[in-house]
């Protein structure tokens, strides 16, 4: 978007509502001409989308890490199917049969059942370290940490091969960490991204000015590479209550450093803290106070602070529901490249509803609806947004996964931007994205905490204002290292 600085400091006029087309006209004319010809032409045409970039990137990476955990957990049972409960009932003390059945149960997502099957094997023959390890892992994944630890500690001194022993020690360490009242974790990611239309230049190569299409001489489509950096640290403190309530705090730093379009260098510091509450049959709740600090081209551009409430409830092993409600204040700061940024300042509210459905353990579908209300000091920056999205997570085996998603948004702005058009802006956007994840430990075990991701994204914006109709294609790759203690 091209910004118009003339009204940015005219607060009295704004507050009294004296904002006629005639008084704005000469100012817009001058500013628009300056905008089209001046150095700010390199700023993204669509700053509403620009401020979502860091959140989209970090959310996507967070989803990738969570999916990587599930993919890793599934690895232990890959390749085992076909044994049925009826088979086991016919020969309930057949250890080999029970073992295969337990693996089938885990592969089918029935970990509770697998726990019973493995317990049966150990009742028959307690001297099976491999089964104890398997049983310990199942209990650990079910959240029964004390029994999981006891199972694993009971066999750590038995003679066994080094690989099995190492695996047992690794799980003991992981469980002991989780049993601590306070847990810390961190991540660091580095990668790069290519965007074939980094400045969101209109597809037509033209921009409206007073409803007159002008051929762009500057601000033409520019492809660009950027280096990506992601750092994160988090803490959870267990309050020790039977509800399992926790306090948490997270800090994330995102940086996108452009090769050519330096005016779109982004940095975001995000931190939030809050509490997670277990409401039993009423689901799990999280209440957080988030704060974002975004810098655009090395200048503070946006500060966001508010309140976020999340609710999740699993209805059964396949279906879960979620809702997120967030209210926040978006406080824009004038920068050299975007002198009118303050006109965007206003309250922000969004609510998302959705459901997750796992038709099979290797597949998870997510469908959601969202509504956003963005207010701004200038009504032509204020909008209502409706969103519908669908995601698919596919665990490919050996810890690999593929995340795919489609998001459709419809934005309706409050008022026309007179210097551009007499029409009130209305956008429809589609985003298609797919991320492939690969655990580097598959190649070299010392890299077991490193995840490689490769993402492709297609973004298409339709708008009744040609200035905001554009497409871009992005590819990004990132290596992410995680640790916890």
């Amino acid at each position: 978007m091209c910004e118009y600085p003339i009204n940015s400091d005219n607060q009295n006029e704004q507050e009294t509502g004296v904002n006629s087309i005639s008084t704005q006209f000469s100012a817009f004319t001058l500013s628009a001409i300056l905008c089209l010809a001046g150095p700010t032409a390199a700023v993204a045409q669509n700053l509403d989308e620009e401020i979502q970039r860091p959140a989209t990137a970090t959310d996507r990476q967070q989803s990738a890490l969570e999916t990587a955990d599930r993919a890793e957990a599934k690895r232990v049972v890959e390749g085992e199917t076909g044994v049925t409960y009826a088979d086991v009932l016919k020969d309930p003390d057949n250890i080999g049969l029970n073992y295969k059945f337990a693996k089938t149960q885990v592969a089918d997502g029935d970990l509770k059942g697998a726990a019973a099957t493995l317990e049966r094997i150990l009742m028959i023959d307690p001297a099976l370290p491999k089964i104890r390890l398997f049983y310990g892992i199942v209990l650990y994944r079910l959240g029964n940490l004390h029994e999981a630890l006891r199972e694993l500690e009971s066999i750590r001194k038995l003679p066994m091969d080094g690989g099995l022993k190492g695996e047992i020690e690794a799980y003991i360490s992981r469980i002991q960490k989780q049993m601590r009242r306070t847990n810390w974790r961190g991540m660091a990611g580095v990668g790069f991204q290519f965007d074939d239309n980094r400045n969101a230049s209109p597809s037509t190569g033209k921009k409206l000015f007073l409803d007159t299409p002008l051929t762009l001489t500057t601000g033409l489509r520019r492809s660009d590479f950027s280096a990506l950096f992601l750092l994160g640290a988090g803490m959870e403190h267990d309050l020790g209550l039977q509800g399992g309530h926790k306090l948490f705090a997270n800090l994330t730093y995102y940086r996108s450093e452009q090769t050519l379009v330096d005016s779109l260098d982004l940095q975001v510091y995000n931190w939030d803290f809050g509490t997670k509450l277990n409401g039993g049959r009423w689901g799990e709740w999280s209440v957080a106070l988030p704060f974002d600090h975004m810098r655009l081209s090395e200048e503070t551009y946006l500060r966001t602070y508010g309140l976020r409430v999340d609710w999740n409830k699993r209805l059964n092993n396949k279906l879960g529901l979620y809702t997120q409600v967030q209210g926040s204040k978006h406080d824009y700061v004038k920068t050299a490249d975007v002198p009118t940024a303050r006109e965007r300042t206003g309250n922000h509210f969004h609510i998302d509803w959705g459901a997750q459905y796992a038709p099979a353990p290797a597949h998870q579908l997510t469908g959601g609806l969202g509504y956003t209300r963005q207010q701004a000091s200038r009504d032509y920056f204020a909008y209502d947004r409706w969103k519908i999205e669908g995601k698919h997570a596919w665990l490919l085996g050996k810890g690999r996964f593929l995340l795919s998603g489609v998001t459709v948004q419809v934005d309706g702005y409050d008022e026309k931007e007179a210097a551009i058009s007499a029409k009130v802006r209305h956008d429809e956007t589609v985003r298609l994205a797919s991320t492939f994840g690969y655990p580097m430990g598959n190649l070299w075990s010392p890299l077991k905490n490193v995840l490689w991701t490769f993402t492709y994204e297609y973004y298409h914006a339709n708008s009744n204002i040609m200035n905001y109709a554009y497409t871009n294609n992005k590819v990004a790759t990132m290596f992410t290292y995680r640790w916890d203690r």
């Binding site: 957990a73 409960y85 028959i124 023959d125 001297a127 079910l142 959240g143 004390h146 039977q242 399992g244």
Partner: protein, 435 residues
């Protein structure tokens, strides 16, 4: 409820209504699952008129309204048709009070009573579909289950401890977090977090949830402790052979008394005539009792060598020779003998003796498949000579006799033919999986 069960039974695909016992057992017993990992003494008593208590071993069916009891070293898993699994520890007793299951819709109801001992359970498909469709009654209090793993112990004073074992909030299994509602004296306490428990005392509300200590947690453990060893479960055959080597004292239970004494109604548990008999006790009286305490998935080979004396006819005034006796028992399939070289019941007089001067290699025996060891007779006598009549009537009267001792048997050789007669006995021993 029984009527309801019967109407639902038609939909039970995995299990069929069967007789519990050949003699006088009620036809309407409904199988609802099977026993697994049985060790020590475990008995079951169905309430149906005409039913008698029975020794429960792995693979045996469990019937609706069965009261299942374990001895001092007994334990087992009760695997219900909907994949609900109860694990019962020593000196415990429970009753499957209600079980209705439609495998096509995975709906139904499970209700059980645990009257004493230690127990654990994992909910199955019924509770997965509708969490409130399962409950467990204790002497004091009720456990309402919401898709979970739980455990408990009932103390001699009637108090109980009940603990939640998972799944917890934030589990990585994709499982809905489990919870249990424990109700007594009109008040309910909900357990939400694995490792937390409540205590129920007679006439008092459950205590507020508290975190179990490691010692308390260990009291709810029903598996044997890990032993030294490096077994690989992929090698199922090896593992199968290890079954039963748990160091348990092998005891069996058998029903004594006449048919009238054996007939019991559902609540007529008191006075249930079970006599516990050790293998060293000569009162062990039949092969079913023998097998009940024997490990499963295993065979025993009994064999012995003896010397016979022979007079008259081909034997002259007196002669002697060697002979062998051999038979195998398959504990799982309840068969004696089987087929193949030396894998059936066999007598063999060795070459070189008066009954077989040269080239005598044939075995005088018979393969016998028995559907029930009890057919062998109350005196545990395995084979009498008449079984040989079709093979070689000259050996009529020969046989094998189980000596009511753990590892031995007696072989009896009788021969009358060709003007000669021979008589001999031998004592054989057992190898393989022996009682």
């Amino acid at each position: 409820m029984i009527k309801k069960i019967f109407s639902t039974a038609a939909a039970i695909a995995l299990f069929s209504t069967q007789n519990a016992f050949a003699q006088g057992a009620a036809q309407q017993l409904t199988s609802i699952g099977a026993a697994g990992a049985v060790a020590g003494r475990v008995t079951a008593l169905a309430p149906t008129e005409g039913a008698i208590g029975r020794v429960l071993s792995s693979g045996k069916e469990v019937y609706f309204k069965d009261t299942i009891a374990t001895g001092a070293r007994g334990r087992l898993q009760i695997m219900l048709a909907d994949q609900t699994v109860f694990t019962i520890g020593p000196d415990s007793e429970m009753l499957i009070d209600e079980f209705v299951y439609d495998p096509f819709t995975d709906t139904g109801k499970v209700a059980a009573q645990v009257t004493k001992g230690v127990f654990r359970f994992v909910t199955g498909k019924i509770a997965r579909k509708k969490p409130s469709a399962m409950n467990v009654k204790l002497p004091n209090g009720t456990i309402g289950i919401r898709g979970t793993l739980a455990a408990g112990k009932i103390n001699a004073d009637g108090s109980s401890i009940v603990a939640l074992l998972g799944p917890g909030t934030g589990n990585t299994a994709g499982e809905r977090p489990g919870s249990v509602d424990i109700t007594n004296a009109g008040e309910t306490v909900t357990l939400l977090r694995p490792g937390f428990a409540t205590i129920i005392r007679p006439g008092a509300p459950p205590t507020p949830p508290f975190q179990l200590s490691p010692d308390q947690m260990a009291q709810l453990e029903l598996k044997p402790a890990a032993e030294a060893g490096g077994g690989d479960p992929d090698k199922s055959q090896d593992d199968a052979k290890r079954v039963g080597q748990l160091g348990e004292t092998k005891k069996v239970s058998t029903i004594v008394g006449g048919e009238g004494e054996e007939t019991r109604k559902q609540n007529d548990i008191i006075g249930f005539a079970i006599q516990e008999v050790d293998f060293d006790d000569p009162n062990i009286i039949n092969w079913d009792a023998f097998r009940a305490a024997a490990p499963t998935s295993s065979n025993a080979t009994y064999s012995g060598n003896g010397t016979y004396t022979c007079t008259g006819g081909v034997c002259g005034a007196s002669g002697s020779g060697d002979w062998t006796a051999h038979f195998e028992v398959d504990w799982v399939n309840k068969t004696v003998g089987g087929g193949g070289t030396n894998s059936h019941v066999a007598f063999q007089v060795s070459t070189g003796g008066p009954l077989c001067p040269s080239g005598c290699s044939s075995e005088y025996g018979s393969n016998i498949d028995l559907t029930n060891f009890s057919q062998l007779g109350g005196d545990a006598q395995l084979i009498q000579g008449q079984h040989y009549a079709g093979t070689n009537s000259e050996f009529n009267g020969s046989g094998l006799q189980f000596n009511n001792q753990p590892n031995t048997f007696t072989g009896i050789l009788k021969y009358v033919g060709q003007g000669s007669s021979a008589d001999s006995t031998l004592t054989g021993s057992c190898s393989g999986t022996c009682p």
